[in-house]
């Protein structure tokens, strides 16, 4: 189905099942521990051996020798494959760092060997017996130091927002020079780790030339293509299966070393191999959100109207990598005739930087929305009023291109009322409660809505049961449930008559999970397949498909009706289709919006910051399931708190690695860091986005949270921090004396 004109009314609009906060259909399995994750599939292949991955102990250089004699002789060892056994493997276009093969070490903890043994304990112990000699080379590990050498770089619309390397509208420099009120500040965000709870894990089994990978991957079709390319085998010989994924956040978008080394290990061992990356390996072996240094300049008239706005971002990556698109939102969020965005990319020899939840906008808004708060103060205008003044209903770079929906002002106003914004003192440092300095902050949330082609197969059986198959993944997002809701709505059956099967590359190729496109796109694919199935059912029953009503397990047309199962017959019926998109995304700017409100307490003595209240008001199209959508948003808000207050991969700039590479050293929020969180979804349907009229929320929820925390901290203390994470050491010298 080609979606190239705005949606009109369709069966989804009935909202009998879609739009309801139903419990997740996979809930009973997840809460009883019976949902099988990649490493746990004892049943899929007999005689599984255990693999253990060894990572390089240097940041840059070459492996000159590997002594595996002791490891090969160790009890239980079945096979060892080292990086010196083969030339550097091909890699898929989505990977920057090579995953295995050859002597070159591009980054710390790059995989250099896999040991396969009868037991986990034997494999781990034997891997530690491998003696490795290195020739170290000097590397580039310091983003700020490499900044002057950085080149302008553009970013394609991949998982993040797109932006040209430099983008100009009007005359920024002239307008900024003339602006009576201006700001020119620099903000920094650190490298961050996805730190999903389930480590990257794979069971690999060869059957002759065909390879099956039971793995944990957000994008099954990408993974399949890239496995084939990396291993030099035909794509049709590869099957991936990821029915349950223990979190991804972008860290499992791409093929990683676990899958490659399980496959190589299984080949060498001539039997199935299971392995998981050890937690201390993950931060350096896999990808991370790259650090940024962002300069923002804003010029405005005394009434608050922005006349000039510039956002420039510097980030780093390995040779051949791309920039963090931290300027993307600044192209679209606020009005202003004179604009400049630019991105520079430094070559670094740190591990690969790549997408993490809301790549681009998440760190970009951490800077922009603090700058907006600072600017509002300079103008003497309330930060919400300042944003309202600069709202735009069209793409400010191309005014003939409207937003399909844009309710940013409503988000902010609704939030202000609900949060009690009027009780905030515009002068910082005014509210003290016991040990705590208390303040409120606001930030706009913005994330583009991306749409992706997505396919599904829908099967109707003789009893009226519906089964959906698609290679879509559920990484905690609720895909199982919203897909079931979509099929139930379309076919007119109760939710419990729908079975959903996901994550298998033998199913139709879907949008996959990334860029907050998954919910809208994958359900639109199911919608398309259901439309086809409805037509086939109506035809078989001899009904006019335009008149046919699917409800209560029946099909009705005129005064005829028939049970759905009757149409399917004993053999059942199947329909398959893919939703594809026309140029609506070019003609309309599709984005999602939020108002984030945060109240913090800052310990007046120690500078410890604790979040006391949080509210997000979101406008993101039709909400397919308010319960799971709300969870996406609170989860993203939680990650935003982490980014604001504690998360940082600390770089050893001498040796080139992330030092705090485990969950004790890389702190993410725990229960005690997170208060009760409130989420409001504004009523919105967006017929431009898809037949579902939905958009994404999973990344919108993090966009702006960090800045709202920063602004609340400023309101509490009068100390303005521009370097994340905003830990107490950065303000302890600027807090008032302890009485």
């Amino acid at each position: 189905m080609k979606f190239d004109t705005p949606a009109t009314s369709n069966p989804i609009d009935q909202l009998k099942v879609v739009g309801h906060p139903v419990d997740r259909i996979d809930g009973p399995r997840k809460t009883t521990g019976t949902a099988p994750y990649a490493y746990e599939r004892h049943d899929v292949a007999r005689n599984q051996a255990y693999g253990h991955v060894l990572g390089a102990g240097i940041g840059k250089g070459r492996v000159t020798a590997m002594d595996t004699a002791a490891a090969r002789a160790a009890p239980g060892v079945v096979a060892i494959v080292t990086t010196l056994d083969m030339p550097r493997l091909e890699k898929g276009p989505r990977n920057t760092a090579s995953l295995f093969g050859g002597p070159d070490v591009q980054h710390y903890h790059q995989a250099i060997a896999v040991v396969v043994a009868e037991t986990f304990e034997q494999a781990r112990d034997a891997a530690a017996m491998i003696r490795v000699e290195y020739a170290r080379q000097p590397g580039r590990f310091d983003l700020a130091a490499e900044g002057p050498k950085a080149q302008l770089a553009s970013a394609e619309s991949g998982e993040g927002g797109a932006a040209p390397q430099e983008d100009r509208t009007g005359d920024f420099e002239g307008a900024f020079a003339r602006a009576p009120v201006k700001l020119d500040e620099t903000y920094t965000t650190p490298d961050e780790s996805h730190a999903m709870m389930e480590p990257h894990a794979t069971i690999a089994a060869w059957d002759g030339e065909t390879l099956t990978l039971w793995t944990s991957n957000q994008m099954i079709a990408w993974g399949r293509t890239d496995v084939a390319k990396t291993l030099g085998i035909p794509e049709e010989n590869v099957r991936l299966d990821s029915p349950f994924i223990g979190g991804g956040f972008g860290g499992k978008l791409f093929l990683r070393a676990d899958a490659v080394l399980a496959a190589l290990g299984a080949k060498a061992a001539r039997r199935p191999v299971k392995l998981a990356l050890a937690r201390p390996l993950m931060a350096n072996n896999t990808t991370h959100r790259p650090a940024t240094i962002q300069r923002i300049r804003i010029g405005a008239q005394p009434d608050g109207r922005i006349t000039a706005i510039a956002h420039e971002s510097l980030s780093g990556d390995l040779e051949g990598g791309g920039p963090e698109t931290a300027v993307a939102q600044t192209k679209l969020l606020y009005a202003g005739a004179n604009r400049l965005t630019a991105m520079r990319l430094a070559v670094l020899d740190l591990p690969e930087g790549n997408a993490m939840r809301a790549p681009g906008e998440a760190p970009g808004l951490m800077a922009l929305e603090v700058a907006m708060d600072e600017m509002a103060e300079r103008l003497g205008i309330d930060p919400i009023a300042f944003r309202v003044v600069n709202d735009t209903q069209v793409d400010p770079e191309a005014p003939d291109r409207p937003f399909s929906q844009r309710q940013l002002i409503e988000c902010l106003r609704t939030g202000a009322e609900r949060f009690g914004w009027s009780r905030r003192s515009a002068t910082p440092g005014q509210r003290r409660e016991g040990r705590w300095l208390v303040g409120m902050g606001v930030a706009a949330g913005f994330r583009n809505n991306l749409v992706m082609a997505s396919g599904a197969r829908v099967r109707l059986d003789g009893s009226g049961g519906v089964t959906v198959e698609t290679d879509m993944t559920d990484i905690g997002t609720g895909s199982y449930t919203i897909i079931a809701q979509t099929a139930a709505e379309m076919m007119g059956v109760p939710l419990d008559r729908v079975t959903v099967r996901l994550g298998d590359s033998s199913f139709p190729v879907s949008a996959g999970s990334g860029g907050q496109w998954g919910g809208n796109s994958s359900t639109a694919g199911v919608y398309a397949a259901c439309v086809k199935l409805r037509e086939a059912v109506a035809q078989r029953l001899g009904f006019n498909s335009a008149e046919a009503v699917f409800a209560d397990g029946e099909v009705r047309a005129g005064n005829h009706s028939a049970p759905l199962g009757q149409a399917a017959g004993a053999d059942g019926m199947v329909a398959e289709d893919t939703i594809e998109y026309g140029d609506l995304a070019k003609r309309y700017q599709q984005s999602t919006f939020a108002g984030h409100f945060v109240e913090v307490g800052v310990d007046a003595a120690t500078g410890e910051t604790r979040v006391r209240r949080m509210l997000a008001v979101c406008a993101a199209g039709r909400i397919l399931n308010p319960k799971s959508a709300r969870s996406q948003v609170i989860g993203a808000m939680t990650m935003g708190v982490g980014a604001a207050l504690m998360e940082e991969l600390a770089v050893d700039k001498r040796h080139g690695f992330f030092v705090n590479h485990d969950l004790a050293g890389y702190e993410v929020p725990v229960h005690a860091d997170i208060p009760h969180q409130e989420v409001i979804f504004l009523d919105e349907v967006d017929p431009i986005s898809s037949p579902m009229k939905a958009k994404g929320v999973g990344e919108l929820g993090i966009c702006g949270v960090g800045a709202a925390v920063a602004n609340a901290m400023y309101n509490a203390t009068g100390v303005r921090l521009r370097d994340y994470p905003m830990t107490l050491d950065k303000m302890i010298d600027r807090l008032p004396q302890v009485v």
Partner: protein, 316 residues
């Protein structure tokens, strides 16, 4: 983890004898630190002596009016003991500020004293570390040091001791009771139990290799207001940037020990005379001679401000 043999000891003396007999052996109790380190081959015992069955899990009153805490009393039980909550609040608070509920259910009193540093370079096994591999050098110096020591450090090591419990015990003048394979018992004041790194950072305590902790005794209660303030980036389940254990009397005198700043719980008795004059004077004396790095210099300011807050709480 290297292969090891395993036995269950039946008495403290037998445990000490077993360790003396086999050079690569270690006691295991809660296991929460040892197994973590064994998985990374930072600890590589060839033989483990499980001491969990020794019955050292009681908390008893001493004839002097103090408490004798069995070596195997779990952190949860110790913090929940009514006498500890009533008379040694600083200790209960320190225990509850440490780790998580699950870890406190396993971690023992003796094991907590013996836990090893959380310096990331000690854990980063590809890096040199004098504590892990004596003589290999210290990668932490000149590296990422935000969490590391500011006082009592050496050119060989700038690690900190991670315990909260031990900081409170230092303030309370606890005494560690041990027994050796030959049956000799001794009492080690906690001030002498942990060592500064000097040139031998791998030697962390005053214990001999075949020495086994049987108990920790607390002197009779000293009254006063008990406060333990742990400062950390996240609100729970994190190691201290700085912690302050304080027992403050009505007249403003008191005791203060610090965590997160040194290779051992840090207390300077002589400096406590300054306490009535306030946190600034007291902390200047306590941290006299501190040599922080660029990244952890904030700990000096933080310690002073935290103490000021603690003293205010104790007064109020």
């Amino acid at each position: 983890m290297r292969p090891f043999t395993y036995e269950r000891a039946r008495s403290p003396a037998e445990a000490a004898t077993a360790v003396a007999r086999q050079p690569d052996s270690k006691f295991i109790a809660g296991g929460t630190n040892l197994l973590d380190l064994m998985k990374l081959q930072i600890e590589t015992p060839a033989h483990l002596i499980d001491v969990n069955g020794l019955g050292l899990d009681r908390i008893e009153a001493t004839p002097e009016g103090g408490l004798r805490i069995g070596a195997l009393v779990r952190n949860t039980s110790l913090a929940a003991d009514e006498r500890v909550r009533r008379d040694y609040g600083v200790l209960a608070r320190a225990l509850l500020a440490g780790a998580s509920g699950q870890l406190r259910n396993k971690a023992t009193t003796a094991g907590n004293l013996l836990q090893r540093t959380r310096c990331p370079y000690f854990y980063g096994t590809a890096q040199p570390c004098n504590k892990r591999q004596p003589g290999s050098g210290c990668a932490a110096i000149g590296g990422v040091t935000r969490q590391l020591g500011v006082i009592g450090t050496s050119e060989a090591c700038i690690a900190t001791h991670p315990s909260d419990m031990a900081v409170a015990m230092r303030a309370l003048d606890a005494v560690v009771e041990t027994i050796r394979a030959d049956g000799t018992a001794r009492r080690i004041p906690i001030a002498e139990f942990h060592r500064l790194p000097g040139e031998t950072p791998h030697i962390e305590t005053a214990m001999a290799r075949d020495e086994f902790i049987t108990a920790v005794t607390l002197p009779p209660p000293i009254g006063g207001r008990h406060v333990y303030r742990k400062v950390r980036d996240r609100a729970s389940y994190a190691f201290a940037l700085v912690s302050v254990a304080a027992v403050v009397q009505r007249d403003g005198t008191g005791r203060v020990a610090l965590g997160g700043v040194a290779h051992k719980p840090w207390r300077v008795e002589a400096a406590e005379a300054e306490l009535p004059r306030g946190a600034k004077q007291a902390m200047a004396a306590i941290l006299d001679g501190a040599q922080p790095t660029h990244d952890n210099a904030f700990k000096v300011t933080l310690a002073e401000r935290t103490l000021a807050s603690v003293l205010a709480e104790a007064r109020g």
